[in-house]
Protein backbone atom coordinates (compact mmCIF):
# COMPACT_ATOMS: atom_id res chain seq x y z
CA UNK A 1 0.00 0.00 0.00
CA UNK A 2 1.49 3.33 -1.02
CA UNK A 3 1.37 5.94 1.76
CA UNK A 4 1.78 9.67 1.51
CA UNK A 5 2.55 11.62 4.68
CA UNK A 6 1.59 15.27 4.33
CA UNK A 7 3.93 17.95 5.65
CA UNK A 8 2.61 21.41 6.49
CA UNK A 9 4.79 24.16 7.90
CA UNK A 10 4.80 23.25 11.61
CA UNK A 11 3.92 19.55 11.31
CA UNK A 12 6.11 17.29 13.41
CA UNK A 13 4.66 13.77 13.51
CA UNK A 14 5.39 13.40 9.81
CA UNK A 15 8.81 11.87 10.57
CA UNK A 16 7.24 9.51 13.11
CA UNK A 17 4.60 8.19 10.69
CA UNK A 18 7.18 7.92 7.94
CA UNK A 19 9.43 5.90 10.26
CA UNK A 20 6.68 3.52 11.38
CA UNK A 21 5.33 2.99 7.88
CA UNK A 22 8.71 2.36 6.33
CA UNK A 23 10.57 0.60 9.15
CA UNK A 24 7.84 -1.17 11.08
CA UNK A 25 5.12 -2.09 8.58
CA UNK A 26 7.55 -1.84 5.69
CA UNK A 27 5.35 -0.19 3.11
CA UNK A 28 6.29 2.37 0.44
CA UNK A 29 5.93 5.87 1.87
CA UNK A 30 6.83 9.36 0.78
CA UNK A 31 6.40 12.88 2.10
CA UNK A 32 3.82 15.10 0.38
CA UNK A 33 4.46 18.84 0.59
CA UNK A 34 1.39 20.93 1.46
CA UNK A 35 1.45 22.72 -1.89
CA UNK A 36 1.36 19.49 -3.86
CA UNK A 37 -1.94 18.58 -5.53
CA UNK A 38 -0.68 15.50 -7.27
CA UNK A 39 -1.77 12.48 -5.24
CA UNK A 40 -1.94 10.08 -8.19
CA UNK A 41 0.34 7.31 -7.10
CA UNK A 42 -0.85 7.01 -3.53
CA UNK A 43 -3.37 4.79 -1.80
CA UNK A 44 -3.54 6.26 1.66
CA UNK A 45 -2.82 9.82 2.76
CA UNK A 46 -1.79 10.50 6.34
CA UNK A 47 -2.33 13.90 7.93
CA UNK A 48 -0.01 13.73 10.95
CA UNK A 49 0.07 15.51 14.29
CA UNK A 50 1.89 18.73 15.04
CA UNK A 51 1.16 22.41 15.13
CA UNK A 52 0.60 23.24 11.46
CA UNK A 53 0.87 27.02 11.14
CA UNK A 54 1.49 27.14 14.86
CA UNK A 55 -2.19 26.37 15.54
CA UNK A 56 -2.54 30.09 14.99
CA UNK A 57 -6.12 31.38 14.61
CA UNK A 58 -7.48 27.86 15.28
CA UNK A 59 -5.78 24.49 15.18
CA UNK A 60 -5.85 23.20 11.62
CA UNK A 61 -7.59 26.31 10.29
CA UNK A 62 -4.98 27.40 7.78
CA UNK A 63 -3.82 23.92 6.80
CA UNK A 64 -7.43 22.93 6.20
CA UNK A 65 -7.46 25.34 3.28
CA UNK A 66 -4.19 24.32 1.64
CA UNK A 67 -3.74 22.90 -1.89
CA UNK A 68 -3.09 19.35 -0.77
CA UNK A 69 -6.24 19.29 1.37
CA UNK A 70 -8.25 20.77 -1.49
CA UNK A 71 -7.05 17.85 -3.61
CA UNK A 72 -8.37 15.29 -1.14
CA UNK A 73 -12.02 15.05 -2.32
CA UNK A 74 -10.84 14.05 -5.78
CA UNK A 75 -8.33 11.61 -4.26
CA UNK A 76 -11.12 10.06 -2.21
CA UNK A 77 -13.41 9.75 -5.19
CA UNK A 78 -10.71 7.73 -6.96
CA UNK A 79 -10.75 5.24 -4.10
CA UNK A 80 -8.13 6.72 -1.81
CA UNK A 81 -8.20 6.60 2.00
CA UNK A 82 -7.26 9.36 4.44
CA UNK A 83 -6.08 8.98 8.03
CA UNK A 84 -5.80 12.13 10.14
CA UNK A 85 -4.25 11.97 13.62
CA UNK A 86 -4.36 14.79 16.17
CA UNK A 87 -3.66 17.95 14.14
CA UNK A 88 -4.68 15.86 11.14
CA UNK A 89 -8.12 15.30 12.67
CA UNK A 90 -8.37 19.04 13.37
CA UNK A 91 -7.47 19.78 9.76
CA UNK A 92 -10.05 17.33 8.40
CA UNK A 93 -12.79 18.98 10.47
CA UNK A 94 -11.73 22.48 9.43
CA UNK A 95 -11.76 21.31 5.80
CA UNK A 96 -15.26 19.93 6.16
CA UNK A 97 -14.13 16.42 5.26
CA UNK A 98 -15.30 15.31 8.68
CA UNK A 99 -18.21 16.81 10.63
CA UNK A 100 -17.81 18.72 13.88
CA UNK A 101 -14.91 20.59 15.40
CA UNK A 102 -12.16 20.16 17.98
CA UNK A 103 -12.08 22.66 20.82
CA UNK A 104 -9.75 23.47 23.66
CA UNK A 105 -9.42 20.71 26.29
CA UNK A 106 -11.88 21.17 29.09
CA UNK A 107 -9.09 21.26 31.66
CA UNK A 108 -7.61 24.16 29.63
CA UNK A 109 -4.20 22.53 29.71
CA UNK A 110 -2.19 20.56 27.19
CA UNK A 111 -2.33 16.86 28.00
CA UNK A 112 0.21 14.23 27.03
CA UNK A 113 -0.68 10.85 28.45
CA UNK A 114 -1.57 7.29 27.63
CA UNK A 115 -5.29 6.63 26.99
CA UNK A 116 -7.53 3.70 26.27
CA UNK A 117 -10.12 3.79 23.51
CA UNK A 118 -12.89 1.30 22.85
CA UNK A 119 -13.63 0.39 19.23
CA UNK A 120 -17.26 1.00 18.25
CA UNK A 121 -17.08 0.25 14.56
CA UNK A 122 -15.03 -2.54 12.99
CA UNK A 123 -16.42 -2.19 9.50
CA UNK A 124 -14.09 0.55 8.31
CA UNK A 125 -10.88 -0.10 6.37
CA UNK A 126 -9.03 1.29 9.41
CA UNK A 127 -10.59 -1.07 11.95
CA UNK A 128 -11.45 -4.27 10.07
CA UNK A 129 -8.75 -6.21 11.89
CA UNK A 130 -10.28 -5.38 15.26
CA UNK A 131 -13.05 -6.96 17.32
CA UNK A 132 -16.10 -4.94 18.35
CA UNK A 133 -15.54 -3.62 21.86
CA UNK A 134 -11.79 -4.17 21.67
CA UNK A 135 -9.78 -1.76 23.79
CA UNK A 136 -6.66 -0.12 22.39
CA UNK A 137 -4.03 1.81 24.31
CA UNK A 138 -2.56 4.80 22.52
CA UNK A 139 -1.08 8.09 23.72
CA UNK A 140 -2.66 11.49 23.22
CA UNK A 141 -0.84 14.78 23.12
CA UNK A 142 -2.95 17.84 22.53
CA UNK A 143 -4.36 21.07 23.85
CA UNK A 144 -7.44 21.14 21.60
CA UNK A 145 -8.96 17.68 21.47
CA UNK A 146 -12.46 18.21 22.77
CA UNK A 147 -14.80 17.02 20.02
CA UNK A 148 -17.94 19.05 19.49
CA UNK A 149 -20.85 18.82 17.06
CA UNK A 150 -24.46 19.99 17.14
CA UNK A 151 -27.39 17.73 17.94
CA UNK A 152 -28.26 16.85 14.34
CA UNK A 153 -24.69 16.00 13.50
CA UNK A 154 -24.37 13.73 16.51
CA UNK A 155 -27.62 11.99 15.59
CA UNK A 156 -26.32 11.43 12.10
CA UNK A 157 -23.00 10.14 13.38
CA UNK A 158 -24.79 7.61 15.51
CA UNK A 159 -27.30 6.66 12.84
CA UNK A 160 -24.58 6.00 10.27
CA UNK A 161 -22.26 4.31 12.72
CA UNK A 162 -19.54 6.90 12.17
CA UNK A 163 -18.17 6.92 15.70
CA UNK A 164 -15.15 4.65 15.64
CA UNK A 165 -13.22 5.24 18.88
CA UNK A 166 -14.30 6.49 22.29
CA UNK A 167 -12.17 7.15 25.35
CA UNK A 168 -12.68 4.37 27.88
CA UNK A 169 -11.18 2.62 30.86
CA UNK A 170 -8.77 -0.26 30.37
CA UNK A 171 -11.77 -2.54 30.65
CA UNK A 172 -13.62 -0.72 27.90
CA UNK A 173 -16.10 1.24 30.00
CA UNK A 174 -16.93 4.66 28.61
CA UNK A 175 -16.72 6.91 31.68
CA UNK A 176 -16.20 10.58 32.42
CA UNK A 177 -12.98 9.81 34.27
CA UNK A 178 -11.60 8.11 31.17
CA UNK A 179 -12.27 11.20 29.06
CA UNK A 180 -9.07 13.28 29.00
CA UNK A 181 -10.42 16.37 27.25
CA UNK A 182 -14.20 16.61 27.73
CA UNK A 183 -15.04 15.35 24.23
CA UNK A 184 -18.75 15.00 23.50
CA UNK A 185 -19.78 11.43 24.18
CA UNK A 186 -16.11 10.55 24.80
CA UNK A 187 -15.54 10.66 21.04
CA UNK A 188 -11.89 10.04 20.17
CA UNK A 189 -12.21 9.19 16.48
CA UNK A 190 -14.81 9.25 13.69
CA UNK A 191 -15.12 8.40 10.01
CA UNK A 192 -17.02 10.14 7.25
CA UNK A 193 -20.25 8.67 5.96
CA UNK A 194 -18.41 6.65 3.29
CA UNK A 195 -15.92 5.28 5.79
CA UNK A 196 -12.97 6.46 3.75
CA UNK A 197 -11.69 9.21 6.04
CA UNK A 198 -10.70 8.52 9.66
CA UNK A 199 -9.92 11.28 12.10
CA UNK A 200 -8.66 10.43 15.60
CA UNK A 201 -6.98 12.44 18.33
CA UNK A 202 -4.66 9.65 19.62
CA UNK A 203 -1.28 8.97 18.03
CA UNK A 204 -1.17 5.44 16.57
CA UNK A 205 2.39 5.97 15.36
CA UNK A 206 3.50 6.34 18.98
CA UNK A 207 2.06 2.91 19.82
CA UNK A 208 3.63 0.90 17.05
CA UNK A 209 6.67 -0.62 18.79
CA UNK A 210 6.94 -2.40 22.12
CA UNK A 211 10.02 -0.33 23.00
CA UNK A 212 7.77 2.71 22.81
CA UNK A 213 5.28 1.18 25.24
CA UNK A 214 2.78 -0.71 23.11
CA UNK A 215 1.77 -1.85 19.65
CA UNK A 216 -1.97 -1.24 19.56
CA UNK A 217 -1.49 1.53 17.03
CA UNK A 218 -0.20 -1.03 14.54
CA UNK A 219 -3.63 -2.61 14.43
CA UNK A 220 -4.94 0.34 12.43
CA UNK A 221 -2.22 -0.19 9.87
CA UNK A 222 -2.85 -3.92 9.74
CA UNK A 223 -6.50 -3.22 9.12
CA UNK A 224 -5.56 -0.91 6.29
CA UNK A 225 -3.24 -3.45 4.73
CA UNK A 226 -5.84 -6.14 5.17
CA UNK A 227 -8.35 -3.95 3.40
CA UNK A 228 -6.49 -4.21 0.15
CA UNK A 229 -8.39 -6.41 -2.27
CA UNK A 230 -6.70 -8.34 -5.06
CA UNK A 231 -7.44 -5.85 -7.75
CA UNK A 232 -5.76 -3.04 -5.79
CA UNK A 233 -8.96 -1.38 -4.67
CA UNK A 234 -10.15 -1.34 -1.08
CA UNK A 235 -13.02 -3.12 0.51
CA UNK A 236 -14.67 -0.27 2.33
CA UNK A 237 -17.77 -0.41 4.47
Amino acid sequence: MRFGVVVFPGTWSDCDFHYVISEVIRQPVKYVWHRDRNLDDLDCIVLPGGFSYGDYLRAGAVAGRSPVVEALPEFLSRGGLVLGSCNGFQILCEAGLLPGALMRNECLQYRCQSTHVVVDNVETPFTRALRPGQVLQMPISHGEGKYHADIETVRALRAHNQIVFRYATAEGKVTKAANPNGSLDNIAGIVNAEGTVLGLMPHPERAAESAMGGTDGLLLFHSLLGSLVEDGTFSKR
Partner: protein, 91 residues
Protein backbone atom coordinates in the same frame (compact mmCIF):
# COMPACT_ATOMS: atom_id res chain seq x y z
CA UNK B 1 -10.47 50.97 5.23
CA UNK B 2 -10.14 49.84 8.81
CA UNK B 3 -12.26 46.89 9.80
CA UNK B 4 -12.71 45.12 13.12
CA UNK B 5 -14.15 41.65 13.48
CA UNK B 6 -15.42 40.32 16.77
CA UNK B 7 -15.54 36.54 16.85
CA UNK B 8 -17.48 34.80 19.58
CA UNK B 9 -18.49 31.29 20.46
CA UNK B 10 -22.10 30.62 19.52
CA UNK B 11 -24.48 31.08 22.42
CA UNK B 12 -25.11 27.41 23.07
CA UNK B 13 -21.47 26.39 23.12
CA UNK B 14 -19.85 25.94 26.51
CA UNK B 15 -17.04 28.39 27.08
CA UNK B 16 -14.67 26.61 29.45
CA UNK B 17 -12.10 29.32 29.24
CA UNK B 18 -14.70 31.97 30.04
CA UNK B 19 -15.85 30.00 33.05
CA UNK B 20 -12.32 29.69 34.36
CA UNK B 21 -11.68 33.39 33.90
CA UNK B 22 -14.93 34.25 35.69
CA UNK B 23 -13.91 32.04 38.62
CA UNK B 24 -10.54 33.70 38.75
CA UNK B 25 -12.17 37.13 38.90
CA UNK B 26 -14.37 35.87 41.70
CA UNK B 27 -11.28 34.83 43.59
CA UNK B 28 -9.91 38.36 43.26
CA UNK B 29 -13.01 39.90 44.79
CA UNK B 30 -15.05 40.52 41.63
CA UNK B 31 -18.01 38.34 42.47
CA UNK B 32 -20.22 40.61 40.38
CA UNK B 33 -18.65 39.42 37.09
CA UNK B 34 -21.20 37.11 35.46
CA UNK B 35 -21.80 35.58 32.06
CA UNK B 36 -18.18 36.02 31.07
CA UNK B 37 -17.25 34.69 27.65
CA UNK B 38 -13.95 35.02 25.84
CA UNK B 39 -13.81 35.86 22.15
CA UNK B 40 -11.36 37.17 19.58
CA UNK B 41 -10.82 40.58 18.04
CA UNK B 42 -9.28 40.78 14.57
CA UNK B 43 -8.29 44.15 13.15
CA UNK B 44 -7.29 44.71 9.54
CA UNK B 45 -7.09 47.18 6.67
CA UNK B 46 -8.76 46.38 3.35
CA UNK B 47 -8.86 48.18 0.03
CA UNK B 48 -12.46 49.13 -0.67
CA UNK B 49 -14.26 52.06 -2.19
CA UNK B 50 -17.17 51.99 0.24
CA UNK B 51 -17.84 50.63 3.72
CA UNK B 52 -20.33 48.19 2.23
CA UNK B 53 -17.69 46.77 -0.08
CA UNK B 54 -15.26 46.49 2.82
CA UNK B 55 -17.88 44.68 4.86
CA UNK B 56 -18.63 42.21 2.06
CA UNK B 57 -14.96 41.51 1.52
CA UNK B 58 -14.35 40.84 5.19
CA UNK B 59 -17.52 38.79 5.41
CA UNK B 60 -16.08 36.52 2.75
CA UNK B 61 -12.85 36.28 4.77
CA UNK B 62 -14.83 35.25 7.83
CA UNK B 63 -16.71 32.59 5.94
CA UNK B 64 -13.55 31.24 4.34
CA UNK B 65 -11.10 31.33 7.24
CA UNK B 66 -11.41 33.78 10.10
CA UNK B 67 -14.35 32.11 11.82
CA UNK B 68 -15.23 28.47 12.25
CA UNK B 69 -18.95 28.72 11.59
CA UNK B 70 -19.66 25.46 13.35
CA UNK B 71 -18.55 27.01 16.62
CA UNK B 72 -18.41 30.74 16.13
CA UNK B 73 -20.46 33.81 15.25
CA UNK B 74 -18.91 37.04 14.03
CA UNK B 75 -19.71 40.74 13.87
CA UNK B 76 -18.04 43.11 11.44
CA UNK B 77 -17.45 46.74 12.25
CA UNK B 78 -16.22 49.05 9.47
CA UNK B 79 -14.70 52.27 10.72
CA UNK B 80 -16.87 55.19 9.74
CA UNK B 81 -19.87 53.08 8.86
CA UNK B 82 -23.01 52.79 10.93
CA UNK B 83 -22.94 49.84 13.26
CA UNK B 84 -25.64 47.42 12.28
CA UNK B 85 -28.06 46.35 14.97
CA UNK B 86 -27.09 42.99 16.51
CA UNK B 87 -29.84 41.03 14.79
CA UNK B 88 -28.54 42.16 11.42
CA UNK B 89 -24.96 41.26 12.18
CA UNK B 90 -24.87 37.87 13.71
CA UNK B 91 -24.48 34.90 11.37
Amino acid sequence: MKVRVLIRLKPGIMDVQGAAVQRALGGLGFADARGLRVGKLIELDVDAATPAQARNRVDEMCQRLLANTILEDYAIDVEGAERLAPSEQVR
